[in-house]
């Protein structure tokens, strides 16, 4: 339990650093660290497959994409912030209200013992696989449609056309 507090504090801290870091590359690195912390949470929940996937896909692959995007943009220019104080205030009030609501909700939450249906080994890859390929067969197959759309979209939007600038 103590370790959980430590890990949560670390996660929150690194997540905050993602927002507050001035250099976008640093933001990405903090984000990678946040993903590792979240993977740590998955381990604590005994969901080891998710832990591995989180590191492989998010910390590995998607962060590479983020870096690509940052390299494509010219971020050296210091653009003054365009948000007015009123917008900032409104954002703070709204976000703060949501936070308060959630804190209040968690305080009143009575989780009890749960239904007891979730055992310690639920997150194991074996049980996950059986559920995914037996009960959740349809969403699994239809996710391939989602991949297909993403692929076609990436090719269509990203492919160079005649007369476009290229370097």
């Amino acid at each position: 339990m103590n370790f959980w507090y430590f890990l949560t504090a670390l996660t929150l801290l690194s997540a905050l650093m993602v927002v507050f870091a001035k250099n976008p590359i640093h933001s990405v690195l903090y984000l990678v660290f946040t993903f590792f912390c979240i993977s740590g949470h998955y381990v604590l929940l005994n969901a080891q497959f998710l832990m591995a996937v989180n590191i492989i896909v998010y910390a590995g692959a998607i962060m590479v994409l983020f870096l690509f995007v940052i390299m494509m943009l010219d971020l050296r220019k210091n653009v003054p912030e365009s948000k007015s104080n009123l917008t900032k205030l409104a954002g703070a009030v709204l976000g703060g209200t949501l936070l308060v609501v959630f804190i209040a909700a968690t305080r009143h939450m009575n989780l009890g013992n749960g239904s007891g249906a979730i055992g310690a080994q639920t997150g194991m890859v074996e049980s996950l696989g059986m559920i995914l390929y037996k009960d959740y067969l349809l969403p699994f197959e239809l996710v391939s449609v989602l991949f297909f759309v993403a692929m076609v979209g990436a090719v269509m939007l990203g492919k160079r056309e005649a007369g476009e600038r290229n370097f």
């Binding site: 959630f102 909700a105 959740y136 969403p139 996710v143 449609v145 989602l146 076609v152 979209g153």
Partner: protein, 472 residues
């Protein structure tokens, strides 16, 4: 269900057909694919099926919604004119394929039984729309719209997913009937069952996600920019298919899972509905661009559709379906006229989408002028058009619901319909009264047939609404 499979496969088929056939044939085949899907969809009529371990459930309501969606898709495909003849910069095979996939996603959103299917369907639909919004790559407005839509839409989906997770945590079920069973055990007087608070937080978050997709008022800020920036044909798709699917998904969830906690989501929804109606209609009055005006009008129609969800009477199924059908066909013909007129009269190399572009349309193109007039009258809710009965059914539903809060909504809705009449008459005045030079526009055959179908349907439904209403 079979329609979803057919649409997924035909999407791939039309993608690969793009390598071998020309764009004219692609239009015909895509139209054929959609009609096949429509037929497969109707084949399940009067049978209630659960598919694949309760992932989807087809019943007459979902089949009706699917039919409206597929009909809109077919009409949008029919007015696409194969996306012009620019071989270098337009990719009809990809566009058609993505539209077919998007329709499959929309069907998942109206037939889902498991929240996972709602999420997968919503993602397929949204990702397709992000891509199509940005498909006009050389147009900065299109790029901006796609980026805006993507960033905000991704957040909305994330919020929705968080809500689903919380609802699962509270009820232990992803199944909408299962959730409904647990929720209905809530005792009267808002006493909380175990984990009740997170249920409420979850419902609110799901709400935010879905309201964003139907562009209801506090979550509507993306709508005008995205609708204006996207190529008009995809704006048409967005304002009909996406809206119908979003409203249907919301209605399904609220009527099956959460009727027992009506007090919880009903109150905020009343305010959201009022706000949507006011913002949509009032802002539409000030627009100079016809396309942007239609974007705000789509916000206001989301408001009318939300009233039906709130009304919760036995007639709601019929009213919501009738309204979405009437709205969809009228919107498609309005956008179709806008598209062909604005492309015919470019301004600074871009299609002119302001009201002035329509000036004097009736002189040389009486048919287009008539189509536009009928669609505007229908959207405004003038008698003898489908839109009138759509509004009529909705207001009757709202009136028969005794809750005093509803009386307020009714007042707002009627006032706002009156405002709507003002701005829907602007294009009609431009077409008939204003002077302008528009040469005769040659319409392709399919285009003409589509416009005849939508206009005829609008008028027939306006004269004899029972033809369709009884079916629902």
């Amino acid at each position: 269900m079979n329609a979803i499979i057919a649409l997924s496969l035909s999407g791939i088929a039309s993608l690969f057909l793009g390598f071998s056939t020309n764009r004219k044939n692609l239009l015909i085949t895509t139209l054929l694919f959609v009609l096949v899907a429509l037929g497969l969809n109707l084949a399940d009529w009067n049978h209630e099926y659960f598919w694949f371990n309760n992932m989807l459930k087809t019943d007459n309501l979902s089949i009706n919604f699917s039919s409206v969606i597929l009909l809109s898709t077919a009409l949008v495909v029919a007015i696409s004119r194969s996306f012009g003849d620019d071989e270098e910069h337009t990719h009809p095979a990809e566009y058609y394929a993505i539209m077919l996939f998007a329709a499959a996603g929309a069907l998942m959103m109206v037939t889902y039984e498991n929240m996972i299917m709602l999420f997968v369907g919503l993602e397929i639909l949204s990702v397709s729309m992000y891509i199509l919004t940005g498909s006009d790559k050389r147009n900065l407005r299109s790029n901006e719209a796609a980026l805006k839509y993507f960033l905000m839409g991704a957040f909305a989906t994330g919020i929705l997913l968080f809500g689903v997770a919380l609802v699962y945590g509270a009820t232990g079920s992803f199944n909408i009937h299962g959730i409904g069973e647990v929720v209905s055990r809530t005792k009267k007087g808002m006493e909380l069952f175990e984990g009740g608070v997170i249920l409420y937080a979850g419902i609110i978050l799901i709400f935010i996600g879905l309201l964003f997709k139907v562009s209801a008022a506090p979550f509507h800020f993306w709508t005008p920019d995205v609708y204006e920036g996207a190529p008009t044909i995809f704006t048409t798709f967005m304002s009909t298919v996406v809206k119908t699917a979003g409203v249907a998904a919301m209605y399904r969830l609220l009527s099956i899972s959460f009727p027992a906690v009506y007090g919880l989501w009903g109150n905020p929804l009343v305010w959201i509905t009022c706000l949507t109606l006011i913002v949509g209609n009032i802002t539409a009055v000030y627009q100079q661009s016809f396309k942007r005006m239609l974007a705000y009008s789509s916000i206001s129609h989301a408001g009318y559709l939300l009233i039906t969800i709130l009304a919760k009477t036995p007639n709601t199924n019929g009213s919501i379906l009738f309204y979405s059908l009437a709205y969809s066909i009228a919107t498609i013909s309005a956008f179709a006229v806008l598209m062909i007129v604005s492309e015919n009269k470019p301004k600074d190399g871009k299609p002119d989408e302001s009201f002035e572009a329509l000036n004097g349309l009736s002189v040389n193109n009486p048919f287009l002028a008539f189509v536009l007039t009928v669609s505007m009258l229908s959207l405004a809710g003038i008698p003898l058009t489908a839109g009138f009965f759509g509004k009529f059914f909705i207001f009757t539903d709202a009136f028969s619901n005794v809750s005093p809060l509803f009386k307020n909504i009714l007042v707002v809705a009627i006032l706002m319909s009156a405002v709507g009449v003002y701005y829907y008459f602007k294009p009609i005045i431009a077409v008939y009264m204003k002077k302008g030079e528009i040469a005769e526009i040659q319409l392709p055959l399919i285009y003409k047939i589509t416009l005849i179908i939508t206009t005829a349907l609008t008028i027939i439904l306006g004269i004899a609404p029972d033809l369709v209403k009884n079916m629902f």
